[in-house]
Symmetry: C2
Subunit: 412 residues, 2 copies
């Protein structure tokens, strides 16, 4: 008998009928002899509906109140799933983030889990109940206010809970069949991967693959929880995210990802002296805005330009922060660009295969795509390009690295 | 400077635009120099939408999960109102039932408040914030599960909070201009009452006047909190619910009310011996079903029939309970009737004016309306009639008692 944590995303529970189907799927795992803990997202569209109402009221709604607002979506879906399980004759109990014991820091809309006090879940499991947990939410360790874990936070809820409960596997049920070599809507012949290692999955998730939240992969890696990404709507095996093993390096590039949720801010005429970067990026960090790439140009006449990228959704907040620091920086001003996208290639095989980055630049150049910014890691190369070229770039990169790679990994 | 608790019902916050309007109204009270605590209901239609989803999944959804489900509605509206207040430049903070300190017993869907731990509200008020509280909800003192206070529970939240905070007044904002002598949709010439005493208001509320939840009036009376029932959509003064004073007795009948949410259960062939009533009504009470009227027929051959009325919404649950006790009772069976309604006349003046009940029976008889059950208190007479006669009965009673009463209170 295994302990299985299952997570169902918003499209898996988008209607009452779909919730009933999820209940059947959960029951099946139970009938197979497993202890089952289910983490559930808000019904598809619900989070956007709530955000939309808030935006009609205020351009910049307060983060604390947004968390209270948005956390209601998962409460609804978790209660409905517990009702569906009971209607099918299965003992079940729904837990809010608080009841499930999710204690977080106080960074509203992007809180991080500090600990999980899972006594109530253990109790319920001992009593033979199926545990249903509202994903995406917790409470602030100090104020006890409701916090949320950011978009996709239910993945993190599920994997963190699997780690806390020492579960055998964390199954992430979604509307696709697994992790693909590229977005199948852009590259119709993209392949589903059977296996991928945590490191690759983490780079792919942070590079725009929406199938798992980055933080959830980090936690899975740290605690060695295998993550099975699979479809709610078929019985097929999906993609297993597992620890790295040597033979994975045979594949140079595992996937091509893209991210259109990108924006660039360029601060112009900054005095080129120590402490400037800190004066700019500390307040950005304090506003809980993640900076992705940073480029500083060569100094001319003691002045320089600094460009950096952030999530497009953070742009209004970042503009507020930038306005506030301009005079302290002694900068001439700043420009923003929200018409950009990031395309990336990811693969642990890059470590042992040089020349991957230059081949990527060549591939984009051949398509007439200008590269605005570059960032690399051991197993990833990302380029910022104009947003309109995204699909063209993804297809070209998939053809150059993945499709060709099927015949021979060593041909480059 | 006064401390004012304001409560806004579902129709007052039914759209984003209406929430913005409520924010303006709250701000106005603040600008007038008051400390303001706002209790808010779910957006109109939201609670029904949630119930409807649950009913699509299960005919008898579990009460615990229903509470978790339904409590989400007030969380949404309270967060949105706090966002609207902040957008208008007013410091504000939204509180869930738990954060506001509402500790209840464990009777899901009909919980009673045990205490209010209002430290966080006091803190927020001291910091100059407008406090927004999600109505209708609390947490179970033992399990810490989410509980709700029953339909209209936000009234109780508001008045109980006004009592705990020692507020100067509790203003209940709704979609009508106050308490009327009868439902104006049935009796177009019904009048708004300027004053009504707690006792009358309590009888009217329990007799079907939907303007205030009974429990909230009880609490207002117990703690001497004046309740001002008024419209969200006009500036007019509404109805003040205040302690009884002698001159109120000059009016015999203050109002005529009706309640179509009624059902009758008749248990037939019950052995007429001590302990039978207990064996029937204890399990009903344990299921948290309120019994209104009870009638026991004259015994024949040692057997009797017992009829009782309950809220129609409790009928499915009551049927389950009745099925369970039939054999223990040695009863022959039971019948149910959901096509009934209750019409009532209420007035503290009845104490000093005999003959009111018989005039009521005569009025109904003159219209050809058969009376199925009768119940009286010092200041109220209620009759159960066939549901289809409700409007006819209300108009006849209003003409007989209230309309005529305007010219001369003593004419009967």
């Amino acid at each position: 008998m295994a302990l299985v944590v299952q997570k169902y995303g918003g499209t898996s529970v988008g209607t009452v009928q779909k919730i009933k189907n999820v209940a059947k799927r959960v029951a099946k795992s139970r009938e197979a002899g497993n202890d089952v803990v289910v983490v559930i997202s808000a019904m598809a569209g619900e989070t956007d509906r709530l955000i939309n109402m808030a935006k009609q009221i205020s351009e910049m709604p307060d983060d604390r109140e947004m968390d209270l607002l948005l956390s209601s979506g998962e409460r609804v879906s978790s209660a409905l799933l517990a009702i569906a399980l009971k209607a099918g004759g299965y003992p079940a109990r729904a837990f809010t983030g608080r009841q499930a014991g999710f204690i977080t820091n106080g960074v509203h809309t992007k809180a991080r889990i500090k600990k999980i006090e899972a006594q109530k879940i253990h109790e319920a499991l001992r009593e033979g109940e199926i545990v249903v947990v509202a994903g995406f939410q917790g409470i602030d360790e100090l104020s006890h206010d409701v916090t949320t874990l950011g978009r996709g936070g239910s993945d993190t809820t599920a994997v963190a809970l699997a780690a806390a409960l020492k579960a055998d596997v964390c199954e992430i049920y979604t509307d696709v069949e697994g992790v693909y070599t590229a977005d199948p809507r852009i590259v119709p012949h993209a392949k589903k991967l059977d296996l991928i290692c945590f490191e690759e999955m983490m780079e792919m998730a942070s590079a725009g693959a929406k199938v798992l939240q980055v933080r959830s992969v980090e936690i899975g890696m740290k605690y060695g929880i295998p993550i099975h990404v699979r479809s709610t709507f078929t019985e097929k095996e999906g993609t297993m995210v597992v620890p790295f093993s040597q033979e994975m390096e045979a594949v140079v590039v595992s996937g091509v990802t893209h991210d259109k949720n990108q924006a660039k801010i360029t601060v112009m005429g900054v005095p080129d002296r120590p402490g400037v970067a800190k004066a700019l990026f500390m307040p950005i960090a304090d506003a809980a805005i993640n900076v992705d790439m940073i480029i500083q140009n060569v100094s001319q006449d003691g002045l320089t330009d600094i460009s950096f990228t952030i999530a497009r959704t953070d742009l209004p907040k970042a503009i507020e922060v930038a306005k506030g620091v301009m005079s302290a920086l002694g900068a001439k001003g700043f420009t923003t660009n929200a018409d950009i996208a990031k395309v990336s290639i990811v693969g642990v095989g890059m470590r042992s295969h040089p020349g991957v980055a230059s081949k990527m630049f060549e591939t984009l150049a051949n398509e007439g795509i200008n590269i605005l910014m570059i960032s690399t890691s051991e197993i990833k190369v990302s380029c910022i390009i104009e947003s309109k070229y995204t699909e063209l770039a993804v297809r070209a990169l998939h053809d150059a690295f993945v499709k060709q790679g099927e015949e021979s990994e060593e041909s480059q």
